[in-house]
């Protein structure tokens, strides 16, 4: 018995999915053109009419929306229905400094929660499960999305929100949580705290974790799986398109199935905007096919990834996206070299370090400084200064191989890097302050 929440659509033949997409797209473009002046103006500027869009192949003629458009249209400019039909808002964390407010009708919320339910069931969730949601509740979509999905599946839902780690652990142990949903950095922190409290991975009842909302690496996945004794599933989404659940991982753990009956995905060249063939690495673009309140068309996510239609052993037919290699927003340009925090994390974990690190970029006399602080594991400690300095040098060399540029490495004592209960602050770029 395979784990599906909505088997028929999740395993539908490709032609059926295309048919659904084409039909929803035609309707959606007509609706947006008639109701969203901001987008109608963009279409008019490009000389595209709703009747030009017949199938998803025609989507390439439509104008893009970017985060800048969302800011320009703030707050109501992209609303696709009367406010009286909206029942909720959510907002981005503003980690990149640009806050986005998204609107939802009840129908939008139902679909969103169904998408999250698909993710929970794919991770092995059933009505028998105890699902601990420690994503933040509130404006952030993480808490509400997984909470709603957990209800739909019928799990006993623990609406913990983030933070208060000891209380999280107490509930986890006392009520026997079997599924945990949070950011990967918080999962790592919970694992670390459990070990400190003297618990072994087999002492908890957790079997699966659904982690997302920030970039994380394969190495971090293995480390969380080990520390919590679970299988860790990736989930993807963004407030602009609803929240988590736009795509989710199945047991194959080789990419996230995009819920294609609701979202149409494209990969484009971020510089030219040209649609790239399947398998190419580029920027992910989403069109919400049936959202009512906030119907974004060709929204540029800034996430760099690839799409694959390779048959999946789980039986799902929806296209898979690779784990984003990083948001182009996260990308740092240091001394002219593109650096993603995820690359740094990969090196650290491969070399046996903790995922507790911080990157500090600054500018001194017109030169970029690039420092990485990582906590030393107790078993890596030596009381010879030269041993520790050698460790730093060897990490610098490994970083240089990966990045093409060598940061100055600093090994620091455990617990000196601030822990996050939501999205981890990995990068401190002080250069912006001087500009």
């Amino acid at each position: 018995m395979k784990n599906y929440y909505q088997k028929e659509i999740e395993t539908a033949p490709r032609e059926k999915i295309l048919e659904i997409q084409n039909e929803k797209l035609r309707k959606q473009i007509r609706h947006v053109y008639d109701n969203v002046k901001y987008y109608r103006d963009l279409m008019d500027q490009k000389g595209v009419k709703p009747e030009d869009i017949r199938t998803v192949d025609d989507i390439k003629f439509l104008p893009f929306l970017s985060k800048a458009d969302l800011r320009d249209a703030y707050p109501y400019g992209l609303l696709g229905t009367d406010l009286k039909n909206c029942v909720r808002i959510h907002s981005t964390s503003g980690t990149t400094g640009k806050r986005v407010v998204a609107f939802y009708t009840q129908n939008d919320i139902d679909i969103w929660e169904e998408c999250c339910a698909r993710a929970i069931v794919a991770a092995g969730g059933t009505a028998e499960d105890v699902c601990q949601v420690c994503y933040g509740y509130g404006l952030f979509t993480g808490g509400s999305g997984l909470h709603g999905g957990s209800h739909k599946v019928g799990c006993l839902t623990l609406p913990m929100s983030s933070g208060n780690t000891e209380r999280q652990i107490q509930f986890m142990m006392d009520l026997g949580s079997t599924i945990i949903c949070c950011t990967p950095s918080y999962a790592a922190y919970i694992g670390e705290t459990l070990a400190e409290m003297g618990y072994k991975p087999e002492d908890n009842k957790l079997k699966a974790g659904i982690f997302g909302a920030e970039p994380w690496t394969e190495e971090m996945r293995r480390s969380i799986e080990k520390s919590l004794g679970i299988k860790a599933y990736d989930i993807y989404g963004l407030t602009e398109t609803s929240g988590p659940g736009v795509s989710f991982e199945c047991e194959e753990q080789t990419g996230m199935h995009i819920n294609e009956d609701h979202f149409y995905a494209e990969i484009i060249d971020p510089d030219t905007g040209e649609v790239l063939p399947e398998g190419s690495k580029g920027e992910l673009v989403f069109t919400a096919l049936d959202k009512e309140a906030f119907p974004l068309i060709r929204y540029r996510t800034r996430d760099i990834c690839t799409l694959s239609r390779k048959e999946c052993s789980c039986g799902r037919t929806h296209v898979k996206m690779s784990k984003p290699m990083g948001r182009s927003d996260d990308m740092m340009i240091i001394r002219g070299v593109n650096v993603f925090p995820s690359q740094i994390e990969t090196v650290l974990l491969k070399e046996g370090y903790t995922p507790n690190y911080q990157i500090v970029v600054d500018r001194e006399r017109n030169n970029d400084t690039f420092d990485v602080y990582v906590e030393l594991n107790p078993d890596q400690f030596s009381d010879k200064v030269s041993d520790i300095q050698n460790r730093e040098r060897s990490l610098e060399a490994a970083m240089r191989t990966m990045l093409g540029i060598g940061p100055k490495m600093h090994l620091v004592a455990p617990k000196t890097i601030t822990r996050s209960e939501g999205k981890a602050v990995r990068v401190i770029d002080r250069r912006k302050l001087h500009d």
Partner: protein, 143 residues
């Protein structure tokens, strides 16, 4: 015979050393000798204490702490004493990784703490040169 030294990894920032010392003090453990190696980012505090197990246990909740075996050699408080020790080790091609000294309760004598790359050999060489090294038990007795 080697003695037990505790090494503590410290962040090089104000108050970190004081805090570590306070934890040891609160545990009622006496510090016999200490040395601090520091770099721009971190320091390594090396301690000889009256109760290594207890100190390690209390420090471990906040710090990375490890036990290291070091040699404590008794030397007379006079010119050339340290030279004799180092000569003996050099002859046997034993490398000294770091060292520090303290004076004991006995008058006119001091102890030098040595971390060497070949502990066993160093002990033999020092014994052959007629130099007296301390054990954990002896250390407790003299201080």
């Amino acid at each position: 015979m080697a003695i037990t030294q505790l090494s503590v990894f410290l962040e090089n920032s104000p108050g970190r050393l004081a805090e570590a010392v306070r934890i040891i003090s609160d545990a009622g453990v006496n510090i016999r000798a200490m040395s601090l190696a520091d770099t721009k980012d971190f320091g390594i505090l090396r301690l000889i204490v009256s109760d290594a197990d207890k100190a390690k246990e209390t420090l471990s909740s906040n710090y990375i702490v490890m036990e290291t075996k070091v040699i404590a050699v008794k030397m007379d408080d006079q010119a050339g004493a340290l030279n004799n020790i180092l000569q003996a080790l050099e002859k046997a091609q034993i490398n000294v990784e770091y060292m520090y000294a303290f004076t004991g309760a006995e008058a006119l004598s001091a102890y030098v703490i040595l971390r060497v790359d070949d502990l066993e050999n160093a002990e033999t060489v020092l014994a052959e040169s007629g130099l007296q090294t301390l054990t954990d038990d002896k250390l407790r007795a003299i201080l």
